[in-house]
């Protein structure tokens, strides 16, 4: 047997905090120069007229793309640091023994901060119900986690402002809590695939890592690279289309079809949004431009939620553990809840 010298542990960079400080400063400077820079390129360097359609579209594009990419990198980093303190295992432990109601509220809130990927929806579902967490509470988590996702919330904040982002988060939470409670009341346990109830998790001790701050920073940086790397192209294309709409579509062109008066626009937006999942990053800039042209906020938010929260890929993955009846109830309840939210915002705002 050869003796191997233990490889040096990979986390020995002591200079991460100074690097972080410099990065923060650079970020702040960059964030503040992009507006003047975009204007300067469009109107001075290229000499486009300020009220020309092309000039307006270009300035909009040159400002929004770096702004959103900067916001995404900075905020995904911050959120990822917070997430290193949470894990599905800890969330499960916190939810254990919670009654329905309180449990649903906790599950929805934890859904925001627990690291979650829809590819892990099945092991997470099994792990939750098998440890005795009620089905409805599990669903509150499974609805909140993808709906209130960082990319969607950050882009809403960047393009619509904090009020719309907060509205989105709040209504996502309420929908997750209520839909989970309804699914719990309906006693749908028999529509969970039978093999789930037969699984017994091993006694294997779940991984319990003690992370140093350096490791948290490195992991957060890894997720920035992963997430921004995955969505940047959608962001660029989405903003390009949005910029085109901004410059070329006549004002109030959409009042008739996406405005408050068009009652059917909310359900239509939800039906259209369900199959469009992976393009959330590209869709938000487009709907933001549509809103300028007369689409109403409720309709736009309903569309957003359907795109992000009711995802076809996640549903297909969940089909492995849920019978079709429960899948149908799951989609039905969320669709109804989103449509209701859309109408509510159209009425109150």
């Amino acid at each position: 047997m050869t003796t191997l010298t233990p490889a040096p542990l990979p986390h020995t960079n002591k200079h991460l905090f100074p690097i972080l400080a410099i990065a923060t400063l650079t970020w702040l400077i960059a964030y503040n120069v992009i507006q003047p820079l975009a204007d300067w390129i469009s109107y001075s360097a290229l000499g486009l007229a300020r009220d020309s359609r092309f000039g307006e579209s270009l300035a909009f594009f040159l400002y929004d793309v770096p702004k959103i990419l900067l916001l995404l990198s900075g905020m995904v980093f911050a959120i990822s640091i917070i997430r290193t303190f949470f894990s599905p295992e800890k969330t499960r432990a916190m939810l254990g023994g919670k009654r329905e109601g309180v449990g649903n509220v906790f599950a929805a809130l934890l859904g925001i901060v627990t690291p979650f990927c829809s590819c892990s929806a099945v092991p997470l579902f099994i792990g939750f119900v098998e440890s005795g967490i009620p089905l409805g509470v599990t669903f509150s988590f499974l609805i909140a986690a993808p709906t209130i996702n960082e990319v969607a919330v950050i882009m809403l904040f960047g393009l619509f402002g904090w009020k719309v982002a907060a509205l989105y988060v709040t209504s996502g939470l309420v929908i997750a809590i209520l839909a989970g409670m309804v699914i719990g009341r309906l006693k749908m346990e028999r529509y969970v695939e039978d093999f789930v109830w037969q699984i017994k998790s091993g006694a294997g001790q779940a991984l319990d890592e003690k992370l140093t701050w350096n490791e948290r920073i490195e992991r957060a940086w890894e997720s920035v690279k992963e997430i921004v790397g995955k969505v940047w192209l959608y962001v660029v294309v989405g903003i390009a289309v949005g910029a085109g709409i901004h410059g070329y579509m006549p004002e109030s062109a959409l009042v008739g079809i996406m405005g408050k008066e068009a009652w059917w626009s909310v359900p239509a937006a939800v039906l259209l949004g369900i199959p469009l999942y992976s393009n959330a990053a590209g869709i938000i800039p487009i709907v933001s431009a549509l809103m300028e042209k007369g689409a109403s906020l409720g309709t736009v938010l309903a569309f957003m939620m359907a795109v992000v929260g009711l995802s076809l890929p996640e549903t297909i993955i969940l089909r492995r553990v849920l019978k079709p009846q429960l899948i149908a109830v799951f989609i039905g309840i969320i669709a109804v809840a989103i449509i209701f939210t859309g109408y509510l915002f159209n009425i109150i705002l």
């Binding site: 047997m1 050869t2 003796t3 191997l4 010298t5 233990p6 490889a7 040096p8 542990l9 990979p10 894990s87 599905p88 295992e89 499960r92 690291p115 979650f116 990927c117 590819c119 892990s120 099945v122 092991p123 997470l124 099994i126 792990g127 939750f128 098998e130 093999f195 037969q198 699984i199 017994k200 998790s201 091993g202 006694a203 294997g204 001790q205 779940a206 991984l207 992991r219 890894e222 992963e226 492995r320 553990v321």
Partner: protein, 83 residues
């Protein structure tokens, strides 16, 4: 001889982990068997709720993320010492 298991039902990240493991094993010229565990009942035996998971000699070393090659190398070296 090491037994390395990659837990996950064939998602993109699981494949990445498997590639990294193969690469590191090759670079370190280790004798190791790399097994893909794709069935949920089997994954749940390790009490893992976020995939991809990485198990070396029946010990869970990573869940829910793609570890760096350097981390994998450190874990493998550690496991060789104990073996």
């Amino acid at each position: 001889m090491l037994t390395i298991k990659v837990l996950g039902s064939g998602c993109a990240n699981c494949k990445r982990v498997e590639q990294i493991v193969h690469k590191v094993v090759e670079e370190m010229t280790l004798q190791a068997e790399v097994i893909k565990v794709t069935e949920y009942p089997e994954i749940m035996k390790y009490n893992v709720m976020s995939t991809p998971g990485l198990v070396i000699n029946e010990k869970i070393v990573s869940t829910g993320r793609i570890p760096t090659p350097a981390e994998v190398a450190a874990w493998l070296a550690n496991a060789m010492e104990k073996a």
